[in-house]
Amino acid sequence: MQLDFSARELTIKLVYYGPALSGKTTNLQVLHALSTEETRGRLMTLETKDDRTLFFDLLPLTFKSDQNFSVRLKLYTVPGQVIHASTRKLVLQGADGVAFIADSQASETRNNAAAFKDLKQNLREHGVELGKMPLVIQFNKQDLPAARPEAEIIAQARRGKEPVFCASAVQHRGIVETFAGLFFLTWRSLDRVHGLGSRMGFDERRLFSEITQRFQGQRPMRELLRSAHTAEGQDLSLQVEP
């Protein structure tokens, strides 16, 4: 997080992490497509010849819920392939929240687990414990026939700590929800540490409302967060005022 008082803006870094070809870039492309023009910046992709991500993708989103302050979100993806280990680590540096994009296909279970361990290790090398990092998990590619069934994923989500979203990026399903969940957790975490609301006067309700207004469908935060599968008593949507 960077707070620039002179420019009156708050910059938050969100990273989309996950195994190769799980749809991290597609997540950003969908968010870009579904957001309004005044909010989104150009989606920047530093890609290789074969259209795979070389260094990262970057989608800047800017929100001005407040006359005085603007909130800038920088959404990054990391390259999934094993060879780009050092780049992944670099992009992860200074992240405020992480969305882990997993591939729902049963055959990818092992790759998902390996990438998750990689995330944990890389965070640790930056001196951050995974448990302290705002984190949501997305099971993408739910549209594929070989995808693990949603019921199975929900059952596991109930036993885990992180909110889990089922998604299909190509069908634009679950993408804004994942982003909303990631932003919500990150915001609350930064607020706890830096007193964004109490000390700096950010109006959380207005910001949440502004953000959700900027995406197609304009569904309120509470509704978006209802898609998150969580453990008993951890329901994200109940943590937001209606």
Binding site: R42, F55, P60, T62, R72, S86, L90, V91, G94
Partner: protein, 462 residues
Amino acid sequence: MSQDRLFPVEPADLEETPRLEHLVDRKGLAELVGSLAQMSGVSIRLFNTEGTLLADGSLDSPLLRRLEGVPAARAALSREIVQIKRIDPAGRAERCSSLTGAFYQVIAVDYDHRRMGRAIVGPFLEHPPSQVPPGLAALAPDLPLDLLASLPLLPPERVASLEAHLRSSLDLILFAGHKSLLTSQMHLASISANYRELQDRNARLQQAYDRLRELDRLKSNFLATVSHELRTPLTSIIGYSEMLTEGIAGSLTEEQHEFIQTIHEKGEQLLQLIKNLLDLTKLESGTLSVQRAPTPIEPVLRQVVSTFLPAARKKGVVLELILPPDLPPVLGDGERLRQVFLNLTENALKFTPVSGLIRLSATLVSAEDPEDDDGFALLAPSAEQLEVRVADSGIGIPEAERSKVFDAFYQVDSSSTREVGGTGLGLSIVKRIVDAHEGSVCIEANQPRGAVFVVRLPLASP
């Protein structure tokens, strides 16, 4: 840290939006702005946020040239320009009018929701002038109306399209510049990460290497101690067996004599092996002194040949020595060199079958690689060497094995049933002694069969 100085770009820089002038090529920008000005017929200037002119697409204006010549008008126009330059549009653009009745459009140049600078388009007129504005007429009387009409005419929709065009061109240029900036930052950052990783690995390798060297030193120390301790009792064994064979302790039966003789011979063999081990460890640890002085090679080689002549005759092998007259002395230690050629000749004799031939020869050669004659005139005189060749007609050494035979304990045939004995120390000692003489030793094939050991030694300075 030094590597941080080498690679100052840290990924934290990714979060910073750079300045306009860092993202674009100034000359290219000036060309773009100039060509847009030419195309639209109106002056365009581009400033950064601090008001520094980055690109000047000013067109010649007869009106402004004329007004330049009128001090009062010039002063008023300068004040006006200063004011216009200060305008920072609250929205996307702001329009202001000039005392000439023309307009200036100040366009905000934003990138990623941040102000990067502003473009000033103008002066231009929206309608053809009907009269010289009174304010201007007061400053510059007699100003003809047609001079005022020479200002470009730009209706609002043209201004809007010019603004949109300028905005989208600049946005694309800034985006491309930003993208390459980030790419190069990431390249640098990953090189830096790889560099650090390699440094870590190097440090680990160095540690492992140091540890191995230490182990090697311990091994040499151990060998030296053990060899020394082995020698003492062995001397007694050899001494007493010698006394027994001489009959000092009473007469022996023939069988007893034969047994004692065998004990004595094997004791001598063992002593030789221990001496070799001791030499090798001394050579390895650098404690074996090589006293280099001008040494004629002929007596050394003659002595070697005479030592092995009886054994060669016994085996039915011809041993010959070929020496040209007047060989210059080498810079070497006679005793150590004798050891070199004793080892090589013994080795040759070991592997040469009955009716074979062993030939020792010496010649003067140039040390230079024949293919590399750079500076030959300078280097040749100092590069003469004495070459001693020990050629046998034995089983030869396969090319792949040639570099390994000089390793301690190495045997080409390492099977337990090999025909020829030996510890594999002799050639290793040869190599170390020759190295200590700044010479070289290598193996060539002999024709039609066998091996040639080629030793080259530096000459003593004349």
